[in-house]
């Protein structure tokens, strides 16, 4: 599942929704990205964002045995301490849940059309993110 939203999210509620009424999920991994020292404005490319996130999720589910997965990305103004992004992966086995969550984050960071602005300056893309994404090839 994919959601792009201005509202915050609740990690426990999202885990509960994904695992509700199932007894085949043994491992749930979540990644939350949080705004650090400086407030951000998050811009995105509506339409393409959902397509890219959908493709990334599909790719993760082709590579690992997941019972459920979720990507939520917030847009708009975000203050220090605010949540930016949530990835949740649910599997029978912890290794699949961990690997898929890392993959989702690495691909999201390098492929999903979001841009962060801090005050007047746009955040620059990091070479380390490209490198992290490379390892899944």
């Amino acid at each position: 599942m994919i959601r792009v939203q201005t509202e915050d999210f609740d990690v426990s509620a999202e885990i509960a929704a994904l695992t509700k009424a199932r007894t085949d999920v043994g491992a749930v991994v979540t990644f939350s990205g949080i705004v650090r020292d400086v407030a951000l404005e998050l811009e995105h490319y509506p339409g393409m964002t959902e397509r890219e996130l959908g493709k990334i999720e599909e790719e993760a589910r082709a590579r690992w045995a997941l019972q459920a997965s979720l990507i939520i990305h917030r847009v708009g103004r975000l203050d220090p301490g605010d949540n930016i992004v949530l990835v949740v992966t649910a599997s029978s086995h912890r290794e699949d849940a961990f690997k898929a969550a890392e993959f989702l984050m690495d691909y999201l960071k390098t492929r999903a059309p979001f841009w962060k602005r801090e005050g007047e300056s746009w955040v620059e893309a990091k070479a380390s993110d490209d490198k992290a994404a490379e390892r899944w090839k």
Binding site: H44, K109, W122
Partner: protein, 83 residues
């Protein structure tokens, strides 16, 4: 053809989107960029350093030499920084 600009590319071109009719010789993204740069200082600034410009055709990432084909929507933006 619909053109979209995001982040500082949008700020430099001065517009989030526009509809354009391309000259016949503009057949790939590179040629489109060259043509856009003739349209004013803002465009020249936006496309001054192509190492930091990315493109999408119909909401799919493409390289800057990709053919436009029957593209309906072309977008230009900096490397992404979400997550």
């Amino acid at each position: 053809m619909k053109l979209l600009y995001f982040a500082w590319v949008r700020q430099k071109t001065g517009t989030p989107e526009e509809d354009v009719t391309l000259p016949d010789h503009v057949r790939d993204v590179g040629a489109l960029i060259d043509w856009l740069k003739t349209r004013g200082e803002g465009y020249e600034a936006a496309f001054a350093d192509l190492k930091v410009v990315r493109a999408a055709i119909d909401q799919e990432h493409v390289a800057l030499d990709a053919p436009l084909g029957r593209a309906q929507e072309v977008a230009f933006f900096p490397p992404v920084t979400g997550g």
